[in-house]
């Protein structure tokens, strides 16, 4: 016990706590007039058990419902990824290819379209000449 504890205890003892005879008699009279509350089972305990039972019941219900629900059939997943079924030649682009090689088919298509347009124009002009 250090000095502080000692001082705290001594100072507590210095607080006057004399109880007068009148106060003692008053308390005795109050106690005599006060009936004791009989020992009964506290409702809080009952409530606790009821809450526990309700919790367990709902837990069991959830498990039963889960078992009764038919399982969801999942769509079969492809064993091999899609990109594996494509020939590797189509997926890989030669890195050293010239830009002209890449645009050549488009250029050919454009030339063919232009030729078609020219032919169509000649045909229309011919028709116009014949008509007028």
């Amino acid at each position: 016990m250090d000095r502080l504890d000692e001082q705290l205890r001594n100072d507590a003892a210095a607080i006057s706590a004399d109880v007068s005879v009148e106060d003692k008699q008053r308390l005795e009279a109050m106690l005599a007039a006060t009936p004791q509350v009989p020992a009964t089972r506290r409702p809080a305990t009952g409530l606790r058990w009821a809450a526990l039972a309700a919790g367990l019941g709902s837990f069991a219900l959830v498990i039963l419902l889960q078992d009764a629900t038919p399982p969801v059939v999942e769509a079969p997943v492809a064993a091999t990824p899609v990109y594996e079924s494509v020939p590797p030649a189509l997926l890989t682009v030669p890195l050293r290819v010239e830009p002209a090689d890449l645009t050549e088919p488009l250029q050919q298509e454009l030339n063919a379209l232009r030729a078609d347009v020219a032919k169509a124009r000649e045909s229309i002009e011919r028709d116009l000449r014949v008509t007028f």
């Binding site: 504890d5 706590a17 008053r26 005599a32 004791q36």
Partner: protein
Amino acid sequence: MQSDEQLAGSAQRGNALAFSALVERYQERLLRFLQARCRCRADAEDAVQDAFVDAWRYLHSYDSRWRFSTWLYRIAIRRAGRQQTSTGGEGLEQLASGDDPLAACIAADEQKNLWLIARRELTEDALTALWLQSVEEMALKDIARALQRSLPWTKVSLLRSRRRLRAVLAEQSSVKSGSEAYG
């Protein structure tokens, strides 16, 4: 001599004399404790009486596995709290003005009472915890139970209270020595 718990057990079985013995044992201790907590002696006296009446009324709810003093102090703390609520709380202002009613319960030559400082510097629960440990020598778990606080809170509160009181005392002694040196 019967222990508190034995007397309480006997009182639970309807022995009023056993309860009277407990009242005799605890009346002054409780009054002293409540004076440190309440605003004035009259409030403390009322709280003591109400605490004993409550203890008698609900004696059947006392569980003999616990110390009787813990149970009784818990009732007393609750009663002191109600007393303060019903009479209004000017407490802090009154203490700040230096007009502490606890001072009236202490003899004039004891005006340096450490509990006056503790009351001024600590919160109610911290003061109670300190009292229960240093005066009533209660175990930490009993103090926590009486205050309805956690064990860590109780430990920290006690450490802080002691540190605070030591700081105040050191401050006072340094001021005193300074004034003596210059006076």
